[in-house]
Symmetry: C2
Subunit: 338 residues, 2 copies
Amino acid sequence: MTKIIVDCFGGDHSPQAPVQGALDALAQNPDLYILLSGDRALLEKELEGKNYDASRLEILHAPEVIGCEEKPTDVVRLKRNSSMMKAMILLRDSDDVAAMVSTGSTGALVTGALVRLGRIPGVIRPAFCPILPTMDGGLVGICDSGANVEVTPAHLRQFAIMASLYLENVYGVKQPRVALLNVGKEPEKGDEIRQETYQLLCQTPCVHFVGNMESRDLLSGRYDVVVADGFSGNVLVKTTEGTALELLKKLKKEIYGSPLYKLGALLQKPMFKQLKEFMNYQNYGGSVLLGTSKVIVKGHGSSKAVAVQKCIEQAYRMHISHLSSQIETEIAKYEHYV
Amino acid sequence: MTKIIVDCFGGDHSPQAPVQGALDALAQNPDLYILLSGDRALLEKELEGKNYDASRLEILHAPEVIGCEEKPTDVVRLKRNSSMMKAMILLRDSDDVAAMVSTGSTGALVTGALVRLGRIPGVIRPAFCPILPTMDGGLVGICDSGANVEVTPAHLRQFAIMASLYLENVYGVKQPRVALLNVGKEPEKGDEIRQETYQLLCQTPCVHFVGNMESRDLLSGRYDVVVADGFSGNVLVKTTEGTALELLKKLKKEIYGSPLYKLGALLQKPMFKQLKEFMNYQNYGGSVLLGTSKVIVKGHGSSKAVAVQKCIEQAYRMHISHLSSQIETEIAKYEHYV
């Protein structure tokens, strides 16, 4: 039985979405055991009248609430009884708890992971690795996308190693093609960090490095992993999501503005439905935090039940693939200068 | 009469696109005088049989060719007779030449501008400011988007001042709303550079600073100017273009895959045509290099004639609005620590 904690507060649709996502994951996977973290009374109310296997569900009472404006360091230091921090401390202290899923504050999650949970031996900094769909039907992982706004070449090399192992083990991508996000293809492009990282990745046999990638090629299907500092990686992911959403919105507005276009869209209904599903990030699970001593998956703040369910399944696959010990083994092969 | 030099080599469609673009601009604007820079024989051949006012067109013979792989510094140092460098030197030395348009190497253009042309007094670093269309029919300028991969808060403040004046004077945007590209809205988000810049922009009365912008909001229409370092600004612009193009490509592929969808698209033909025009960056001119002592506009390498024409018109509008002297006046009001 694999035990996973679900932080039920902090997201936009809390606690409904986390609770329903947990129940759906539980129904799909008989090997799962779930702990719901949060205020017991609110969670019990949310569970009322729902059908589930009560022998595989437990509530972890965590009554404190994290405010929107609270600093991550304050949350970690002062809010030990919040749904996120209590979950993290239990994750650290219980050998039989494998992973944690949260849709709460990103900053608090990263700080908490560093301060309370700890890293895989050898890992300098954990990094987020969200997954986006490419236009040829594949996937691409972007690592880092927000945990570290400042990085060194050594960090970036570790991100490349961790994300490669993640794509290979959890998504079955054989020998993932790894690119470095840069402002041009040539090795001498970008700042010193990029130039050094380019050379470093060329000297890292366990990484199938294919060179620099310009951001316009992200969805081309030519790359499985893109390595970036947390600042530009964040810009890369959010710009992609934002542009896609804005364009779909514009298309919809145009179509609704004309009866003829509407008629055309009626004929294309299955296509638009498929396109919308394809572009719905809720279908691609969360952003895993690679490099922490136990598995942490961060869902979008706006996650609905289906997204939380995907996050739980992702955490489960990460755990059973023994990703952490593989990361430890590979990372140990390289010098850890910072 | 306003004299503008057009670098006719270096782009993907050289010299056809620059020459045709120049002739079209000339026909539209009786106040224009154009110098075509490049190999005389090739340019004369390209002009053969074309209709134009020969009293307002001149060839600047520049026979040297810049190779794809050449380093910017080598181009600037060694290729003084290339179409780009000869144009730049003439621009520097001739009081009556106002501006230059090029679709050639970005690196050579930036290095050449710094080494050969020089900056507006007080400007620390010139910066690119391309323009993208927003979903509400407006425009947004992104400064910097590739000239400076490393920046300080003082740089970023100057980018904000220059881009504000640009949007106001060349596009008629009253009191442009300026945002700082960051990984979150709150003032304390991002690295130290972002945090300091936030404070600095709050203390800059000539900039209408509205706070941090997350990249997913670029096309929302809520911002007129986005200030960024050249690395993440480049990622922002290219990801937007890339995602839009990939999505349109996917849509087209889907439509062509089904007779029913094709029929629907037939009814929507005007909409798709309009959408394609809306998203065609060739319609929005080039990326101006703000802060150089004379006007430089950089067109996409893939620019066709219409894009070159727009770049020339943009350069013309920049010149007649006396943007440079306005930038000099505003910049002089602030301390220039680096």
